[in-house]
Point group: C2
């Protein structure tokens, strides 16, 4: 497994790799969810590239960029074991030199929920993914369903800007108690960790209600009730959306996705589940 630090070096190496090429973009501090993305990429491509880059432009000024967990050596060992061919891990100044001033802005799908809670977040996500796609030129890029709104933003960008790759969405990997894998789970105290499966419980209740034919409003109210019954949880939002547009949906006949964000102390977790599957 080779480790590449410079943009030009990655482009030069790319020209020598057999295709198709699968890219797994990550911010490092990898867990089983990331490994699942790599496994899927490994099964579908001749070359697998994983990027490890804690992207400063997707963190708000009051967010956790500085303290975002990092474990590069451990990450590389996990990636090598999972069959990764190359790790691209540039320095922030290589991705954002001082003169940097171009942004990819996706409107509409970014206006609510994570976009509203985290101003500028999706501008940073879209911009860094656009750059990574141009640098690596992958046949496919792999994203986890856990960050469902991010997936919708990236798919919108790729379609709108006619980018030449396929976006592959991989199901969320969960702990035994249902908690979705996330690098931010490492922030949780033991008490908060024990309370955190409330997100999954609220989602499974939502799906059961959908199957019983209950309407969107009843489901939203019940999800909020489930979260509020957990004393350590503070509900940020609960919503049932069209998974492509992230507009609130009242009809449950078409594609519908239940999403929620919950705080445990300073740690904010998100999760989602399709209701129509």
């Amino acid at each position: 497994m080779e480790i590449v630090r410079e943009v030009d070096a990655l482009k030069a190496r790319r020209a020598t790799w057999p295709g198709p090429v699968g890219l797994v973009p990550t911010m490092g501090y990898l867990h089983e969810g990331h490994v699942e993305l790599v496994r899927r990429a490994r099964a579908e491509n001749a070359t697998v590239v994983v990027s490890i880059f804690v992207n400063p432009t997707q963190f708000g000024p009051s967010e956790d960029y500085g303290r975002y967990p990092r474990a590069f050596e451990r990450d590389c060992a996990m990636l090598e074991a999972a069959g990764t061919d190359a790790v691209f891990s540039p320095a922030p100044a290589a991705m954002y030199p001082e003169t940097f001033s171009s942004w990819v802005v996706v409107e509409g799908v970014t206006s609510r929920l994570e976009g509203a809670s985290r101003p500028g977040h999706f501008r940073g996500v879209a911009t860094v993914c656009n750059k990574l796609f141009n640098i690596v030129n992958p046949t496919r890029a792999y994203f986890g369903q856990k960050d469902a709104q991010q997936v919708a933003v990236i798919q919108r960008m790729v379609r709108d800007l006619n980018m030449n790759l396929d976006i592959v969405v991989v199901p969320t990997v969960r702990e035994a108690d249902g908690l979705a894998m996330s690098s931010r789970n490492s922030y949780l105290s033991a008490e908060h960790r024990a309370a955190a499966p409330v997100l999954y419980r609220a989602l499974t209740v939502a799906r059961a209600m959908r199957r019983e034919g209950r309407d969107a409003n009843a489901i939203r109210l019940k999800m909020a009730e489930v979260v509020r019954a957990e004393p350590l949880a503070v509900l940020d939002y609960v919503s049932i959306v069209n998974p492509s547009t992230f507009e609130e949906t009242e009809s449950l006949n078409g594609p519908s996705l239940a999403v929620l964000a919950v705080r445990f102390g300073a740690t904010r977790l998100i999760d989602n589940m399709r209701l129509d599957e």
Copy 2:
């Protein structure tokens, strides 16, 4: 010469063309300036693609999108004579379907002059060029020096987003009296056409003053004086800028570009000249 209307068809054809591929993006109603771009592309590439697309997103609501001149048959005849291999001319709805909501925004270099006079203009230019670069995947794209700020915006975007092509800038082609070739020259009345070379006169005076060692402020004042001496001309702006950043420059020791915009009735013309060459 083949004519391609659909995005997917262009991508499919692209896969069959020998490289390197040169792209000349245009809005049609071609003149000798465009033909010069095609000649340069022809000399440097195995395949030459010209796009003809009057891009609605770079026109302001009060601008001339609807009445922008169009002459597709004549354009194709000129392009075939100049050795073009393929023309890409998509419908507006093919480039901007109803769900379209992603934009490339270049800050800094767009804040003054054309960017200030035409809000949203460079967002539209950057976005459509980003799309065309992804669709055509050219080795090189050719732009005229006449639209100097546009060139700076595109170069900034390509660098910031790590796009995989070279931007080639081709010197401005002028009429015998110095007027820079522009599709908008066709709007000029006979009287305005006779007055229009005042832009070139102001620029040549600026260059002569630079060679005499005069300072930037004296040159700006003199350029404005030259334009105001023409009764049919209304000065929009005159500026001496760093050609990469488009910030006003006081020092004439480094790269410097004199730029101006002048109105003749409803028609607005721009031109520029390097002072340090």
